[in-house]
Amino acid sequence: MSDLHAEHEGHEPEQHAEHHIVSPMVYLMIFGALLVCTALTIGASYLEMGPWNPVVAIGIACLKATLVVLFFMHVKYSSKLMKLTVGAGLFTFLILVGMSLSDYFTRAWGQW
């Protein structure tokens, strides 16, 4: 058992990221950034930007979600395995949603 342990320690120390404690200062700054983004998205919805209104709204929402995932959910300080897991999930999500939408938007669009 102890041999196995020693062997593991030998070749994968970098696999387990050191448990990083995110400081309250970082949380506070992210909290502030989220509040600013919320104010921006509310303000932007009152501006006439034509087709850009939804783009701006979704863009700000993505920015906020990224901040939450990276800092509140510690992904920035996590191991490569965790980053890859989150990235793969996001990729799959975009494939599923993107493919479904592209199908709807190109099939008999406007003839419902």
């Binding site: 058992m1 102890s2 196995l4 342990h5 020693a6 593991h8 387990h16 448990h19 404690i21 995110v22 400081s23 309250p24 949380y27 506070l28 992210i30 909290f31 989220l34 509040l35 919320t38 998205t41 509310i42 932007a44 919805s45 009152y46 501006l47 006439e48 209104n53 939804p54 709204a57 979704i58 700000i60 929402a61 906020k64 979600a65 939450v68 995932v69 800092f71 509140f72 959910m73 996590s78 191991s79 395995l81 965790m82 897991t85 989150v86 999930g89 799959t92 999500f93 599923l96 949603v97 479904s100 939408l101 709807y104 938007f105 419902w112």
Partner: protein
């Protein structure tokens, strides 16, 4: 997510580490590996949740493009102040939860209890505001279907907007388009309702965690439950971050 104290393997068998914490399960080599595994599992669960909400968002985006005027008019009946207030409340609760995780990591028992209390109060506040908004839908006959006698869904207000709405720039919809506002409210209740259900489950877990923390729990370094609950709570916050602009802010300018 397991919170029960692990059955500690006897130190003689493992031999390699004198400071072997009792909550290290015997099939893990180290605490790092155990933590990594639980976090990995939690993320996999959250990814299935993201796919689940993704289906709702896709349906919403398709219908919104099909029945855009109905979706705009229906969206304008939502109270932007209450929606913004709820966003503020939920982001604050995410912040207090993040602080709770920090308190658990740095073994601050009082701080953890107060962070959890703040998170709980903000979570309940969110649900209270949401309940008020749902009640307004009931009063305005905006609940889809015929669930409540005397309050069946009625799109009449979108065909003949009242004086106040007309002054606010609201345009009357043709009856067939106005009927499609029911699709908007169906999606509104499906999405916010499913989000609220996640909040309720979270609040139940939060109560259990608070009960344990108030008795000095989570101070021995075994904080997997607090950390993974934090991930869940932030995920629920992220869902709202997308729901808010999509449902409330479609186009406030027109």
């Amino acid at each position: 997510m397991s919170d029960s104290p692990a059955i500690a393997a006897d130190a003689g068998h493992h031999g390699h580490d004198a400071a072997h914490p009792p909550y290290l399960r015997h099939h893990f080599i180290s605490m790092e590996q155990q933590t990594e595994t639980t976090t990995f599992g939690m993320w996999l669960f959250l990814l299935t949740e993201i796919m689940f909400f993704g289906g709702l968002f896709t349906a919403y985006l398709i219908y919104r493009n099909w029945y855009y005027p109905a979706f705009v008019a229906a969206s304008h009946t939502l109270d932007i102040f209450l929606g913004s207030l709820n966003t503020l409340v939920l982001i604050s609760s995410s912040f207090t939860m993040a602080m709770g995780v920090w308190c658990a990591e740095t073994k601050r028992s009082k701080g953890l209890v107060w962070s959890l209390i703040a998170t709980l109060v903000l979570g309940l506040g969110f649900l209270g505001i949401k309940a008020d908004e749902y009640h307004e839908k009931y009063v305005k006959d905006h609940i889809p279907g015929h669930l409540f006698p005397g309050h069946a869904f009625s799109p009449v207000g979108f065909v003949h907007p009242d004086q106040e709405a007309l002054k606010g720039g609201e345009k009357p919809l043709a009856p067939d388009m106005a009927a499609k506002t029911e699709v908007y409210f169906s999606l509104y209740f499906a999405m916010t309702g499913m989000h609220a259900l996640h909040m309720i489950i979270g609040i139940a877990l939060l109560c259990g965690m608070l009960w344990k923390a108030s008795r000095g729990g989570y101070m021995d370094g075994h904080i997997a439950f607090v950390e993974n609950f934090g991930l869940y709570w932030h995920f629920v916050d992220i869902v709202w971050i997308f729901l808010f602009p999509l449902l409330y802010l479609i186009s406030r300018h027109s």
